[in-house]
């Protein structure tokens, strides 16, 4: 990174916010502090004055024009070093010096002013043009930069400005236009070529804050400079005593050239430009003493000859130095790139390895690597938690207490920028915007010089931040450095993103396990092949409890294989159903299972549902339903009990009817027996006694039938579904209520189907249903004022069913009629409201339905629909 390290301290980019806007590599947009501008202005003024004094000294004997005219070159250097917005200040700063130099002359004021303008125009033209064509106006270390400099600052600017200068001078003096032009052009070209690179690059170097070169380099430089001076002194001296080389004394310049080459090779463009300047000065001093190769020429012409030689010598040497620099830079940059890529590789590798070790440790190591390799002072990795950022890892070059975890006022502005996924680049504390006062104070109090922070963002949000900090020196965050820091941040980003993903995975695994563990049912999740990929402990427990041993498998085992091996009926049904679910043929499969136990039978249900994921699979659950089953049985029992109670109650209501039904045969039997006795006493002349006895037997049987029917209704058995003929059913019930109807003085009319019509059900329950409806109708008709008629019609319903409708002549039903089937709903003062509710329960248990309405001519119509027995409906 060294080669890319800052060359000019002041050229710090402003705060970069966001995207890929590159930092400014050579201060085009730089702004200097006032103090700095003032210092520079004074420097310019002094340099201008001293340069002019030097120029006045460097004149060939007999020639008025100076060989070298430094003020314009120094002004150009100043403009190259200073941001354009301060150029005016620099130019104005030179004016006092210019004025003091020209005060002593007899030049008119206009000329003094216009000459300053031409001088300024040269500097402005050169600096402006060079800024256009060069990427670094303060460096001459590549052929491109050097030739840009030579073309603009060294040639074009002096040549063009000399036209103006010559015009000014020739109009105020008697000197010839072209004479002035030529003298000034040559002097200023040489000045620009030799002074600008040396002054500019040395100033830039010193200003960059870079450390001084190592002692060895200093010693070598001293040797070079000493050699240069010694040669310059020694050769004329030696030649004056002993002539070794003809004409050598007049051309010490020739012996100085190797030193420039040495400097170019060993010290690069800065060394070469300084040596060129020294050599030029020495050569001019020699020439001024008369030691010039052009001793045969007039001083004026010799002057131009010297200038030409110096220009001719300077350009190739500077070019040599530039190309050597360029090559060195290329090598350095290659090495740095390799080094950086090694670093990236190391980081990426470290994070990959981090799978096995705590990732925090690898962060720490990676941050240290980055900091040491990029010569930063602190590198910190933050993790975003809500709106706040917490330190995940950090590395500090120095043990600075308070630099790290001290909360302090923090960096609210920078944090907000990061949250908005914008980079924060602080070249120096001055880069902070006005509204970042808190940040600025934190920055200063922590001793930061420069910082760069990159948000770590996923596709949706910013989850962290990587911050690079320098506390030693300001860092020029050029685009190469920023690109690298972004690359490093990218590696951290993917590593932390991966860590987040892994953490999220662990969290979701934990959640899944917790959910599975909290389920009351046993759950086993199968893949497409029946291998268990997840299960809960309950599954194992239920498999053992329920006696489904084949279901007691470990994670990763093939459940289907176990089930097939078990070869029980349930196992086969489960596998069959599961395969159907897996193939998508079945939406689910439910297999009941029961096993005897000490406290009565226990019941389970094994259910298989498809697993909703791309890979397919199935979820198998095992649930104990013993409690539910018991509750169902209890409810059934309770229903039966209730029905029985209702029957008993109904039969109680029918007691007189039964009494009558029994009384009839008993009456007949008694009468017959007494008649028989009398007949026999009289000798039975007509032979009537056998008929009498037959009647007695018949009536006895008849009484038995009544009692049997009564007993049947009072039976308390479990329901027994049998085929029942609807006509017989209705007739039986009608017989039960016949006597009651007589008492109530209500006629019962039956209308029955001609052919047998069979329903499937429990005889007693259905009898009870019809009986309740009929009794209700009898009561209603008895209360009513109508015809006291109850019609019972049985027959096929419109659908595949049987309809038994009971029509009465009572007062009709209250609205809504359907409510009469609700339990405890009654219109009778003494009723319990259970009768029709039981009807509905029984009918619905038989798969039928009930309805009730008011008839068209008054009275109520209550209907029972029952499905026809399957053999009938076919």
């Amino acid at each position: 990174m060294r080669h890319n390290a800052p060359t000019f301290q002041l050229e710090l980019s402003p705060v970069l916010t966001g995207d890929a806007r590159p930092s400014t590599p050579h201060g085009r947009t730089g702004v200097w502090s006032r103090k700095r501008v003032a210092v520079a202005a004074i420097g310019v003024c002094v340099a201008y004055f001293l340069g002019a004094q030097l120029g006045l000294q460097l004149r060939l004997p007999g020639a008025t024009p100076s060989v070298l005219w430094p003020p314009n070159a120094l002004l150009t250097s100043a403009l190259l070093l200073v941001p354009p917005r301060h150029w005016l200040v620099m130019l104005l700063a030179a004016f006092p010096a210019h004025l003091s130099l020209t005060m002593g002359t007899d030049w008119p004021w206009a000329m003094i002013g216009l000459l300053f303008v031409t001088n300024c125009s040269e500097a402005l033209l050169g600096a402006t043009l060079l800024r256009r064509v060069s990427d670094a106006t303060d460096r001459f270390d590549s052929l491109q930069r050097l030739f840009a400099f030579v073309a603009t600052v060294a040639l074009l600017a002096p040549v063009v400005s000399s036209f103006l200068d010559a015009a000014v001078v020739s109009s105020f003096t008697t000197e010839s236009y072209w004479g002035v032009w030529r003298a000034r052009t040559f002097a200023n070209v040489l000045s620009a070529l030799t002074i600008v690179p040396a002054v500019t690059s040395v100033a830039a170097y010193l200003g960059s804050g870079r450390p001084l070169p190592p002692l060895r380099r200093v010693l070598e430089w001293t040797l070079l400079a000493g050699g240069l001076l010694t040669t310059w002194f020694a050769i004329p001296f030696a030649e004056a005593q002993y002539t070794f080389i003809p004409g050598a004394v007049r051309v010490p310049l020739a012996f100085l050239l190797p030193f420039i080459a040495w400097a170019a090779v060993r010290f690069g463009s800065i060394g070469a430009s300084v040596t060129v300047l020294m050599t030029t000065l020495l050569a001019i001093v020699s020439a001024a003493r008369g030691d010039s190769p052009f001793f045969s020429l007039s001083p004026g012409e010799a002057l131009i000859g010297v200038q030409f030689i110096l220009v001719a010598a300077a350009v190739p040497h500077l070019a040599l130095a530039a190309s050597i620099d360029e090559r060195r830079h290329a090598l350095d940059s290659l090495a740095a790139r390799l080094d950086f890529e090694r670093l990236l590789g190391q980081l990426a590798h470290a994070f990959l390895e981090a799978r096995r070790e705590p990732i925090a440790d690898s962060y720490q190591a990676a941050l240290r690597d980055v900091g040491e390799r990029l010569q930063l002072d602190a590198v910190m990795l933050f993790r975003r938690e809500g709106q706040a950022f917490t330190v995940m890892g950090s590395w500090f070059r120095y043990e600075v207490s308070g630099l790290a975890a001290e909360p302090g006022p923090g960096f609210p502005w920078a944090e907000n920028e990061i949250r908005c996924n914008r980079e924060v680049l602080v070249g120096s504390v001055d880069d902070y915007p006005v509204d970042a006062e808190v940040d600025r104070r934190s920055f200063t109090s922590l001793g930061y010089e420069s910082a760069f922070a990159v948000p770590l963002a996923s596709a949706t949000d910013v989850f962290g931040c990587l911050a690079y900090v320098s506390t030693d020196r300001p860092i020029r965050w050029d685009r190469h450095l920023i690109a690298r820091l972004r690359l490093i941040a990218e590696i951290f980003r993917s590593a932390t993103a991966r860590q987040h993903a892994e953490e999220a995975l662990v969290a979701s695994e934990t959640l899944k396990t917790a959910i599975l563990g909290s389920l009351v049912s046993g759950v086993a999740v199968l893949d497409r092949h029946g291998v268990v990929i997840a299960m809960n402990e309950r599954w194992t427990a239920l498999a053992r409890d329920s006696g489904l041993e084949w279901a007691d498998v470990a994670l990763g085992e093939d459940l289907f294989a176990h089930a097939r091996a078990a070869a029980t009926r349930e196992a086969e049904r489960v596998v069959e159903g599961a395969l159907g679910v897996l193939s998508g043929e079945l939406l689910r499969c439910v297999v009941p299972h029961s096993a005897p136990a000490a406290q009565g039978p226990r019941f389970w249900v094994v259910a298989v549902y498809p697993l909703d994921r791309p890979d397919g699979g199935a979820v198998m659950t095992c649930t104990e339903i013993t409690e539910r089953k018991r509750a169902e049985l209890d409810a059934q029992t309770a229903r039966a009990e209730l029905a029985h109670m209702a029957r008993v109650a109904t039969l109680g209501e029918l007691a007189s009817s039964f009494a009558h039904q029994l009384n009839q045969p008993l009456t007949a039997i008694v009468a017959n027996a007494q008649a028989g006795r009398r007949l026999m006493a009289a000798g039975d002349r007509k032979g009537e006694v056998p008929a009498v006895l037959e009647d007695i037997a018949s009536d006895g049987l008849r009484a038995g039938t009544v009692i049997m029917r009564l007993r049947e209704m009072l039976r308390k058995d479990d329901p027994r579904p049998v085929p029942i003929d609807v006509a017989a059913l209705v007739q039986d019930v009608a017989a039960l209520v016949a006597n009651d109807a007589l008492i109530r003085e209500v006629s019962v009319r039956l209308s029955l189907p001609p052919s047998p019509l069979t329903v499937h059900g429990d005889r007693v329950q259905l009898q009870q249903a019809v009986l309740n409806v009929l009794m209700n109708a009898l009561e209603a008709s008895g209360d009513g004022t109508g015809g006291r008629l109850v019609e019972v019609a049985a027959g096929r319903a419109a659908g595949p069913g049987v309809l038994i409708e009971v029509r009465d002549t009572g007062p009709g039903l209250p609205i809504p009629a359907a409510r009469i089937f609700d339990a405890f709903y009654t219109t009778k003062p003494s009723g319990m409201g259970m009768g029709l509710s039981i009807v509905r329960t029984i009918v619905e248990a038989h798969g039928g339905s009930t309805h009730a309405a008011n008839g068209p001519h008054g009275g109520a119509v209550v209907g029972i629909s029952l499905p026809v027995a399957s053999s009938e409906s076919a």
């Binding site: 009468a671 009536d699 006597n739």
Partner: protein, 127 residues
């Protein structure tokens, strides 16, 4: 002549049989309408009428008989041996009533009484 009116065939047949076996003349009818079709009757007679019959009950028949044959004594036969029924029967003008199953002693006593009433009403003397 004793008319037995009862919707139950066994009952009327057995009662008629018992009466005949004892020396009475008896005719039996399955319903009030059937009996009305047989009227009028001549000579001393009585009717044994079941109270509970479909279509026309024993009381209804009795009311109609009071129009057509006011002299015919009627004895109700009922399954309900309660006081209310007996009271109702007597108040309505019945000659007597019998509770099922009928004991022959009571039967003959009531029938004899009814026939005697009939003779008195017809003005026929003797027995």
């Amino acid at each position: 002549m004793v008319f037995v009116v009862d919707d139950d065939q066994s009952v009327r047949r057995s009662l008629a049989r018992l009466l005949k076996a004892t020396g009475y003349q008896a005719e039996s009818f399955g319903s009030a309408a059937e009996f009305e079709a047989r009227l009028p009757c001549e000579g001393p007679a009585c009717a044994l009428v079941d109270v509970r019959m479909p279509e026309m009950s024993g009381f209804d028949l009795f009311q109609r008989l009071q129009q057509r044959c006011p002299d015919l004594p009627v004895v109700f036969i009922t399954g309900h041996g309660d006081v209310a029924m007996a009271e109702r029967a007597i108040r309505s003008g019945a000659t007597g009533f019998l509770v099922k199953p009928v004991d022959e002693v009571q039967l003959f006593a009531v029938v004899d009484l009814a026939l005697a009433v009939s003779r008195v009403r017809l003005g026929v003397g003797g027995g």
